[in-house]
Amino acid sequence: DVKVTQSSRYLVKRTGEKVFLECVQDMDHENMFWYRQDPGLGLRLIYFSYDVKMKEKGDIPEGYSVSREKKERFSLILESASTNQTSMYLCASRGGAGGSYEQYFGPGTRLTVT
């Protein structure tokens, strides 16, 4: 079974802090994604990476950056956390290129910024 793990289930940070969310997948997938999930809005794509050191902006990249130094690990960085970044963050990976492959999601990190 594909396993996608995220470093924390719950995280509380203060406004202005730098925050790192880590995601690791164990299936040698090339593509990895970061989403945020908010009630009534569904999942929105922040960034995705189609290979090591490659990244592309999603629909809501403002205030975020990413890092992918190794194939199995994709990190989401909040440079200076703000209260409007309080949300559930979901990481996903996908085995193949193109839209015919399903995405496998991690359990999520619920981030609260106070």
């Binding site: 592309e56 015919s100 999601f105």
Partner: protein
């Protein structure tokens, strides 16, 4: 632009049927369906590709009207395990950068 899902919520008794709709304003390459139970990660159900190919769950069916950019998910003879929030994800260009709808909450009661 995110696809529009309807209804927002539906309550069913075990054994009843329901349809969840997903509509996009863009031409689509594929539509993906996921189900998320409370406190858990979304789980893949089905992919419908332009041209008619489907891949996914053998107990849940779906359709994809390419001309109308619409997809429907059919929950037939619902079971308690069908409860959860269903999301459609649309892919306009085969890159897999999905845009998800807001979700449809399904509650199946005994």
């Amino acid at each position: 632009q995110q696809p529009v899902q309807s209804p927002q919520a539906v309550i069913l008794r075990e054994g009843e049927d329901a349809v969840i709709n997903c509509s996009s304003s863009k031409a689509l390459y594929s539509v993906h369906w996921y189900r998320q139970k409370h406190g858990e990660a979304p789980v893949f159900l089905m992919i419908l590709l332009k041209g008619g190919e489907q891949k996914g769950h053998d107990k849940i069916s779906a359709s994809f009207n390419e001309k109308k950019q619409q997809s429907s998910l059919y929950l037939t003879a619902s079971q308690l395990s069908y409860s959860g929030t269903y999301f459609c994800g649309t892919d306009p260009d085969s890159w897999g950068k999905l845009q998800f709808g807001a979700g449809t909450q399904v509650v199946v009661t005994p």
